[in-house]
């Protein structure tokens, strides 16, 4: 039993903790032991926080002894290294922030620590969350636990691979164009991008502020609901966080989706999609039909084809503004031994940022520059409205839309590294959802030659509950989410 504690779900671990069959220290130690074993192969972690974790676990055990355990008390977790952790370095996998130690916690970290979560490590990502494979990390590439020569997806690749490899029970990532859902699909775990505004972004290192959202990686839908119960809600420190009340997301997980209306937008079954992915996704949709959902296979969202261009104008534009702050004056890397302040600033950015980050800063700077603003940024914001309206119209007819998470299974490390455009295409199914601001979840839906395939379910704004209900019902009649990599 104790060898396998690190593979438990949150709800199973909670039950054992609350009944005092196991302690949080034992559970945490099982994760730390497994990290030692698998980390040389997976490389999910930028920073391991073993001492902090064991101290937190002891505290959690005291809380449990008093009979005050809540669902996350004593549960080991990993946090993407863009979430500020007080006193624990937070790097964004960039040389720019290699030595940055935040003086405060992100809102989600605050909430999770208050709920008794045990932090075991900070996870690797594509530098500043820009990428789809973790190959853009300034430190190292994370490996897919199902096939070490392949990418775990990105940008939250470390958070996905860490949960898939049994290094912790759950994790958090951030998703600007697919950075939670695509790696969740690639690593056979559940990954949710909540509605824009559902989770406070306070203390999240900003990439594209109108698209960024924080969300969980878990082993099943119930766990995802449990984490969302803790991290959701308005926060006065993030003016874009929404006042909508937070329901108990676990309340309606009863396996019943009879009569639920599900639409299948045909534009998401793109040219170049792998046939195994097509088959697995359609098989999963038929399973939802068998469960009583009413499926319309012939939905059209014609503006989908414009989403890639809209995204790669808006996201880099916002990034170029957000990343202007890394100028070597207040924190982060700095070149001080230059002739002038301006030269120091240029060198700081030249050596602090990697190639993809520089590419996007330049792209965004160009799109916002005098003479091009209307043609690029403003135009993209207008087409963004058209994409949103199509989702609004679809959601007057359907409770949810279902698509593949990604057109392919995990690709090989190095395969797309020299072709930015083909890398951008791997997010073609996920980025329209950020543009519209609606919630999307990826759940395990099968394998092709041992490589995971994800199913994406998209919901109305603030209808995360619907996504959990469908995912949970699907997981009652399938076992993809219980499969583990052989590591």
């Amino acid at each position: 039993m104790s060898d396998n504690l690190n593979w438990l779900t949150i709800h199973a671990a909670h039950e054992l903790l609350a009944r005092k069959k196991i302690s949080s220290v034992e559970l945490t130690q099982a994760c730390l032991d497994n990290i030692e074993k698998v980390e040389p192969k997976v490389k999910a972690l930028v920073t391991e926080t073993a001492d902090f974790a064991l101290a937190q676990a002891k505290k959690a055990d005291a809380t449990i002894a008093q009979g005050k355990a809540t669902p996350l008390t004593g549960i080991p977790a990993l946090m993407k290294d863009v979430l500020c952790t007080q006193g624990i370095r937070t790097t964004a996998s960039s040389k720019m922030l290699e030595k940055f130690v935040p003086p405060y916690n992100a809102a989600v970290i605050e909430k999770l620590i208050a709920a008794g979560m045990v932090l075991v490590g900070k996870t690797n990502l594509d530098e500043f969350a820009m990428g789809s494979s973790t190959e853009n990390s300034a430190f190292f590439t994370t490996h897919n636990p199902y096939a070490f020569e392949r990418v775990p997806g990105g940008s939250s690749g470390g958070s996905a691979a860490g949960v898939a490899a049994g290094e912790a029970i759950f994790s958090l990532g951030s998703d600007t164009g697919g950075s939670i859902r695509q790696p969740a699909g690639f690593c056979n775990v559940v990954g949710l991008k909540p509605t824009y505004g559902r989770v406070s972004r306070y203390g999240l290192i900003a990439f594209a502020s109108s698209l960024d959202q924080i969300g969980p990686f878990t082993r099943d839908a119930l766990d995802c609901a449990l984490v969302m119960n803790v991290i959701s809600g308005q926060d006065k420190r993030d003016a874009t966080s929404a006042p909508e009340p937070v329901p108990d997301y676990t309340k309606n997980l009863n396996g019943n989706i009879k009569g639920m209306k599900i639409g299948i937008p045909k534009e998401y079954f793109v040219a170049g999609m792998q046939p195994e992915v097509d088959t697995a996704v359609k098989t999963a949709i038929k399973k939802l039909e068998e469960l009583g959902a009413i499926v319309d296979w012939n939905v059209s969202l014609p503006s989908t084809r414009l989403a890639l261009a809209v995204y790669y104008i808006i996201a880099p534009s916002e990034a170029s503004a957000n990343l202007a702050r890394y100028d070597g004056s207040k924190y982060g890397a700095a070149f001080l031994n230059t002739d002038s302040m301006w030269e120091g600033m240029e060198k700081t950015k030249q050596f602090g940022f990697g190639p993809e980050v520089k590419r996007r800063i330049m792209l965004g700077t160009y799109a916002l520059s005098s003479g091009y603003y209307d043609a690029y940024y403003l135009k993209a914001q207008k087409v963004r409205t058209l994409i949103r309206r199509e989702f609004d119209a679809a959601f007057t007819k359907y409770d949810a839309l279902v698509t593949p998470t990604s057109p392919t299974v995990p690709f090989k490390i190095g395969e797309k590294a020299n072709d930015p455009l083909s890398m951008y295409l791997s997010d073609v199914c996920t980025l329209p959802i950020n543009i519209a601001g609606v919630p999307g979840i990826s759940i395990p839906a099968g394998f092709a030659k041992g490589l995971p395939i994800g199913l994406q379910i998209i919901g109305k704004p603030f209808a995360e509950e619907t996504l959990f209900r469908i995912s949970h019902a699907y997981q009652q009649v399938t076992d993809w989410h219980t499969r583990r990599p052989m590591i």
Partner: protein, 95 residues
């Protein structure tokens, strides 16, 4: 249409980004390829479409201005590349 060398240098200067000759050539190639893919938006009629700046319709989020403690100066300055006493130390912006 490929971006000119001068355009790339201008963009880098606007972003205060140091850039080498090799990087300029690579950026011309890659940025031009990406920009070409944006052409698809030009054919879309958006004359009566308002822009979306963010996706939820919150406007004018207000709160009372209540004084409260800020982070200790020492905690903030721990990350400073250069400091003098309780201040960030920078070189002259205007020379």
């Amino acid at each position: 249409m490929k971006l000119s060398r001068e355009e790339v240098i201008h963009i880098a200067a606007l972003a205060r980004l140091g850039i080498t000759d090799a990087e300029i050539e690579k950026a011309r190639e890659q940025l031009s390829n990406i920009l070409e893919n944006f052409e698809v938006l030009k054919e879309i009629d958006t004359s009566n479409v308002p822009p979306t700046a963010q996706s939820i319709s919150l406007v004018n989020v207000l709160r009372d201005d209540v004084p409260q403690a800020s982070l200790p100066a020492e905690d903030i300055l721990l990350n400073a590349p250069d400091r003098e006493g309780d201040l960030f130390k920078l070189r002259a912006v205007l020379e």
